[in-house]
């Protein structure tokens, strides 16, 4: 197990370096001038050549690319995430202030997706191709196809017009004001959780159907155990392994999906910050946020891999 952890973590570190190079390449080398973003297209044309060079030097954009890359990585290693072009708050502060909300949304969405997906999968897998199975598969396909932000907009509009309810505007932390915090978080979490629950239900159904056909399940039935304990205690734990892996991948969907969904709900989380950064072409904020998201995604995947290896010893000895 120890060597497996070491191997996985080393791979993760290599991946994070590769990811940082890709982020840097995408946001610095591709065309698009940050000065246009700061001064606007009209203001940009009014700048003289010398002024342009001055501002580029001030932003550190006239150094060679390798130097720029190393200084960026060094800054991040020292915990300095840079500043926005438009806001006084540093990116680090912004992440600390807004990150917890998005993390809460992600965790709640994952829990919700399991709570919804697994029971549906069990019901479908017990009677494959029955009416209940077909209905639940139909509904899960519908939820796969619906974009989360669209559902989010509908929920916001419906609660506003029919119930006259509006989510509290100010961001509230979990500890200071749990009730307001729950109101802010619950909408995006439900929308993202339902979308993921559909994937989970489909995966768990097919995996459960596979496991139910195995010999040991038939043995358990043959020795006289009733249906319910066989499914819940013998079949389900083995069927859940691929679901855990899928859940790790889906966490990426939650991270990405939270961007438009938080925008739809007006949630003051990191996703909304990313959205704003894109709209304002705030290159440095975008660069650091994209990197942060990718690092979180890589780390979560390592965590999921380690969990799987811990649950299933066959994997770590491969």
């Amino acid at each position: 197990m120890y060597s497996y952890i070491m191997r996985r973590v080393t791979f993760g570190a290599v991946t994070i370096i590769g990811v940082s190079i890709i982020v840097f390449m995408v946001l610095r080398i591709l065309p698009g001038d940050p000065l246009v973003a700061i001064f606007g297209p009209e203001g940009f044309t009014k700048l003289s050549e010398a002024e342009r060079a001055h501002y580029m030097a001030e932003l550190g954009l006239s150094d060679p690319l390798v130097v720029q890359y190393l200084s960026w990585v060094g800054d991040i290693a020292r915990g300095n995430f840079g500043r926005s072009f438009f806001r006084s708050e540093s990116v680090g502060e912004m992440i600390l202030r807004r990150g917890p909300l998005t993390a809460e949304i992600g965790i709640m969405a994952v829990i919700l997706s399991w709570l919804v997906g697994i029971p549906v999968a069990i019901v479908s897998a017990l009677r494959p191709n029955s009416l209940g199975d077909n209905v639940s598969r139909f509904i899960s396909i519908v939820f796969l196809a619906i974009p989360g932000f669209w559902l989010g907009m509908l929920i916001v509009l419906a609660s506003l017009f029919w119930l006259g309810y509006r989510v509290p505007l100010a961001g509230a932390s979990l500890w200071a004001d749990p009730w307001a915090n729950l109101q802010i978080v619950i909408g995006p979490a439900v929308v993202l959780g339902l979308g993921q629950g559909a994937y989970i239900a489909r995966m768990a159904r097919s995996s459960l159907l596979e496991v139910i056909r195995e010999d040991y399940v038939r043995t358990a039935r043959a020795k006289g155990l009733s249906r319910r304990p066989v499914i819940m205690l013998h079949a389900l734990p083995n069927a859940l392994l691929p679901v855990i892996t899928l859940s790790g991948i889906l966490l990426g969907f939650v991270l990405a999906g939270s961007i438009p969904v938080e925008r739809a709900f007006g949630t003051p989380g990191l996703g909304y910050a990313m959205f704003t950064a894109v709209s304002e072409r705030d290159v440095f904020v975008m660069q650091n946020l994209v990197f942060l998201y990718a690092v979180v995604f890589v780390m979560l995947n390592i965590l999921v891999d380690l969990t799987i290896a811990w649950l299933d010893p066959r994997i770590r000895y491969r």
Partner: protein, 261 residues
């Protein structure tokens, strides 16, 4: 339906008709079996076909001009003149949805054709040659896969700036790793087959083996992959063109995507 004279026994024309009708019957038979076996797939297949028809026949089907605003009917709920209602500046929403299917499908198909195909060829080469090239390719693909799709697409679209083509390229790049992975796995098992060995024994070049002997076997997994990713591409495209998004404002004027009021 004329009664054929016995002396004009079996003309070529009739023969061809017979073949065509039997082929038609076979297609129809296959379709009806498919519908009976999996009614759900058939149902969704019809919907997909309807959307395709809608996109192609948009000018015929749309009741109004999608970009023309009618200031006497602004922000109207659905009524008998505008089945989907109108938006803030009086444009017919139904027409915009119908025209929007064009943009959405073009972007999705373009992104998948470009991205998945590029990934597939990359996977073909990396699986076939193996060695150091394969190791490096796998790492690069892993790096690309470490980003959630939408985030990478957003970053690329932002860096490249405005446009229809930009969105296609941005989504296409996120599709590359999937094509690469799947096709590489197929190629790895195919290249050990004895018919590939036979071709090599006959002196076929690497290029010929890859294109004539291995590539045709990759078509089926490629098609499955591509159709799945069409849906993913449409969802990413919708999120990029989400109301209030920067990309929507910068899209070429006149380009309408779905879900953009």
């Amino acid at each position: 339906m004329t009664v054929t004279e016995p002396e004009t026994a079996y003309s070529l024309q009739q023969g061809r008709q017979a073949v065509e009708s039997s082929r038609l019957r076979r297609v129809r038979g296959g379709l009806s079996t498919f519908i009976r076996r999996s009614p759900l797939s058939a149902f969704w297949g019809c919907i997909a076909a309807a959307i395709l028809v809608m996109a192609i026949a948009a000018p015929v089907l749309a009741p109004y001009e999608p970009l023309k605003s009618d200031f006497r009917a602004m922000s109207k709920p659905p009524n008998e003149r505008h089945y989907f209602g109108t938006d803030q500046i009086g444009r017919d929403v139904l027409s915009r949805v119908i025209y929007g299917s064009r943009a959405s499908l073009t972007i999705a198909i373009g992104a998948v054709l470009f991205g998945t195909t590029l990934g597939a060829f990359w996977g073909l080469a990396s699986g076939y040659f193996g060695g150091r090239f394969d190791i490096v390719s796998q790492r690069v693909i892993e790096f690309l896969q470490s980003f959630p799709d939408l985030i990478l697409a957003m970053a690329i679209a932002m860096a490249l700036g405005a446009g229809f083509g930009t969105v296609i390229v941005a989504i296409a790049i996120t599709r590359i790793p999937f094509g690469g992975r799947v096709i590489r796995a197929v190629v790895l098992s195919l290249k050990e087959m004895s018919y590939v060995e036979a071709a090599r024994g006959l002196g076929a070049s690497h290029l010929r083996i890859m294109l004539r002997h291995i590539l045709p076997q990759c078509v089926a997994p490629y098609l499955i992959l591509a159709t799945t990713h069409l849906g993913v591409a449409i969802i990413i495209e919708a999120a990029l063109g989400f109301p209030g998004s920067a990309f929507r404002r910068r899209l070429r004027p006149g380009a309408i995507c779905w879900l953009i009021p």
